[in-house]
């Protein structure tokens, strides 16, 4: 324990008087040329309102460390951070809130403690778990959510969660989502107002997927060292199963893949298979650059600050996407990514429909044909749990046909969502949230 004590003592904030906030207060309390006159409030109340805001930072890694530091120094006082990871020795070159003695500890907890210690008056609450472990109620408490994530899956999850949270009757349910991302010398920051502006799912094509190699090439004619590694990863592992489950972080597993790939490379006269390349291909690693993280995190926190204070126009309704490239000198471009009407997350939100639960399914289907916006002749219907009726294929039609004479109240609950598709709709599908207009009499 000698080291952390030493580190902590050298890091103890010296006597920083309130002058630390002088420049911040200049921005918060004086109008600038771009300040929106209507919503800007220069009185002290605006400052205290900002200090009461609760922010959620998702990810306490390369971007997350920068974001936490920037938010704390921007005058936010109530910050939560969520990360499921523990600190690895390879993080220490850029995740500057962590020290060698922290290796193995929770990223969220160490980062929270460090920033609290350096910036007096800020409260940071760590959550050492997956974002998926938290429920809607948890996300409902925040005013702004900022992501510093490295996975598309996690982004898509939080995006759809925040879209689903929006309730038109409750303005508080709209949580601006600020998303930062970096890859080597490139990065982006973007601002999303869920259901109102283009969401992460609308923008999914902005992430170029890794070029897939045909399975046949892997199996028969590898040309590159990566092909040999992918072969070991996808095919050899599946066939031989040297360990029950592949763990990308287990050196023994990576060594096994490396040896397999190397043998195959020699067979095909391919050079370049190394241990670190194996690790890189299997874990899909792209080098992380500390300065890229710093730039993108700064941009994200600027947006949070502007949204919270109205001192300057933020990204959002007009331009909503800032891309940055440091590959060849420095380049940024900011543009508006349009919302997609057919976005599977924000483009197809369930409409309410009142039904009589004592109607049979058959009667309900007939009523769909009469609805002006639907006019469906051959609808197929399901709820999240149940396949309610399928027009085809035959095997499913036969199995769901008995439902036709059942009452709607037996098939769905009050308030349940159904999805309706029909060949005549082309690529369009309908979602309805069914509300019972009368009580359901089961017999």
């Amino acid at each position: 324990m000698s080291q952390p004590v030493m580190v902590a003592s050298t890091l103890q904030a010296p006597t920083v008087p309130d002058s630390r906030w002088i420049y911040l207060d200049n921005v918060r309390q004086k109008k600038g040329p771009f300040t929106d006159e209507e919503s800007f409030d220069a009185s002290g109340e605006a400052v205290s309102a900002m200090e009461k805001m609760k922010l959620l930072v998702i990810g306490a890694g390369g971007l997350g460390c920068e974001i936490l530091k920037d938010l704390a120094l921007s005058g936010f006082k109530d910050i939560h951070v969520i990360d499921m990871d523990t600190i690895d020795v390879s993080n220490l070159n850029r995740q500057f809130l962590f020290r060698q003695s922290d290796v193995g500890k929770s990223k969220a907890e160490v980062a929270a403690r460090f920033v609290e210690k350096r910036v007096k008056g800020v409260s940071i609450t760590p959550h050492n778990c997956k974002i998926q472990d938290k429920d809607d109620e948890f996300y409902m408490q925040f005013n702004i959510v900022i992501c510093g994530l490295d996975s598309i899956e996690a982004r898509r999850w939080i995006n759809s969660t925040l879209v689903d949270l929006v309730d038109n009757e409750n303005p508080e349910s709209l949580k601006p989502l600020i998303d930062g991302g970096t890859e080597g010398f490139k990065g982006q920051s973007r601002v999303i107002f869920p259901t109102m502006t283009s969401c992460i799912e609308c923008q999914l094509d902005m992430h170029a997927p890794r070029a897939a190699v045909p399975l046949c090439t892997l199996a028969t004619i590898p040309r590159q060292p990566e092909h040999c590694i992918e072969w070991a990863h996808i095919m050899a592992w599946e066939q031989e199963k040297p360990f029950p489950k592949l763990d990308n972080d287990d050196p023994e597993h990576i060594t096994w893949l490396y040896k397999k790939a190397l043998a195959r490379a020699q067979e095909f006269n391919i050079s370049g298979v190394t241990y670190s390349l194996t690790q890189g291909v299997v874990k899909n690693i792209i080098p992380a650059i500390a300065s890229t993280n710093a730039i993108i995190a700064a941009s994200c926190c600027n947006e949070a600050f502007k949204i919270a204070t109205s001192t300057n126009p933020s990204l959002g309704f007009e331009e909503n996407y800032m891309m940055y490239s440091g590959n060849d000198s420095i380049y940024t471009y900011t543009f508006k990514h349009e919302k997609k009407d057919d976005c599977p997350v924000c483009g197809n939100i369930a409409r309410n429909m009142e039904i009589d639960p004592n109607f049979t399914l058959e009667e309900f289907i007939e009523s769909l044909a009469a609805r002006p916006e639907a006019q469906l002749k051959k609808p197929s219907i399901r709820s999240e749990q149940k396949t309610i009726y399928m027009q085809s294929p035959e095997s499913l039609e036969l199995k769901t046909r008995p439902n036709l004479v059942k009452k709607m109240g037996e098939l769905v609950e009050d308030g349940e969502e159904i999805g309706v598709s029909d060949p005549s709709l082309g690529s369009v599908n309908f979602k309805y949230r069914l509300r019972f207009s009368k009580p359901f009499k089961s017999h």
């Binding site: 209507e38 919503s39 900002m50 805001m53 809607d136 005013n143 929006v166 309730d167 038109n168 409750n170 303005p171 709209l174 601006p176 259901t195 999914l204 897939a212 190699v213 045909p214 399975l215 046949c216 199996a219 028969t220 599946e238 066939q239 949204i307 919270a308 109205s310 959002g316 309704f317 599977p344 997350v345 197809n348 939100i349 369930a350 409409r351 309410n352 197929s380 399901r382 709820s383 999240e384 749990q385 396949t387 399928m390 294929p393 095997s395 499913l396 199995k399 609950e413 308030g415 349940e416 969502e417 159904i418 999805g419 598709s421 029909d422 060949p423 690529s427 599908n429 979602k431 949230r433």
Partner: protein, 181 residues
């Protein structure tokens, strides 16, 4: 804090207040559409072990022409939640002798991997599978030996197919009997 809310109101948005209900997923809705639009010839049938789970089902192909005529081939389909951004996962459940299907049942069909696009649908995948039985492709092999047989000696390959389909062995590999009768 913000005046965002007053700036725009999404007329279409859901007004359900606070209720947390299960939602139909995009993959469920899309597969429902693909299934209801399937137009399968009499040589192919789908089966749903759990009709409520339309993301997992089997397909049976009984080719009525070509080298695999008289066989009955079973495939499992597992539709990921990321469908249609990702392709269905398709596997042959039998051990068969085919240049584009390996002994574990993995299928080499371009639209199931590198050429998958969200605009493709289930019909395209199923027609692609059927095509593999009508025209096995030696230039794109997953079972190298079978491909080599097909390329070098088409008649020998045909005999191997017949023998393998009957549950016989080809080059020390015993195959599963897949004949209808």
């Amino acid at each position: 804090m913000l005046k965002i809310w007053s700036m725009q109101q999404d007329a279409n948005a859901d007004a359900a207040a606070g209720t947390k209900k299960k939602k139909v997923t995009a993959a469920q809705l899309r597969i429902q559409k693909d299934l209801s639009e399937l137009a399968l010839p009499s040589t192919m049938k789908t089966d749903f072990p759990d009709p409520d789970d339309t993301l997992n089902f089997t397909l049976t192909i009984e080719p009525d022409e070509g080298m695999y005529k008289g066989g009955r081939f079973h495939f499992t389909f597992a539709i990921p939640q990321s469908f249609p951004h990702e392709a269905p996962k398709v596997k042959c459940t039998q051990k068969i002798y085919h240049p584009n299907i390996d002994l574990d049942g993995n299928v080499c069909l371009n639209i199931l991997r590198e050429d998958w696009k969200p605009v493709l649908n289930l019909q395209a995948v199923i027609i692609g599978l059927q095509f593999l039985f009508l025209e096995p492709n030696a230039s794109d092999p997953l079972n190298k030996e079978a491909a080599e047989d097909l390329r070098s000696n088409r008649e020998g390959f045909k005999r191997n197919v017949r023998s393998a389909m009957g549950g016989g062995s080809v080059k020390h590999q015993t195959f599963e009997r897949v004949l209808k009768t």
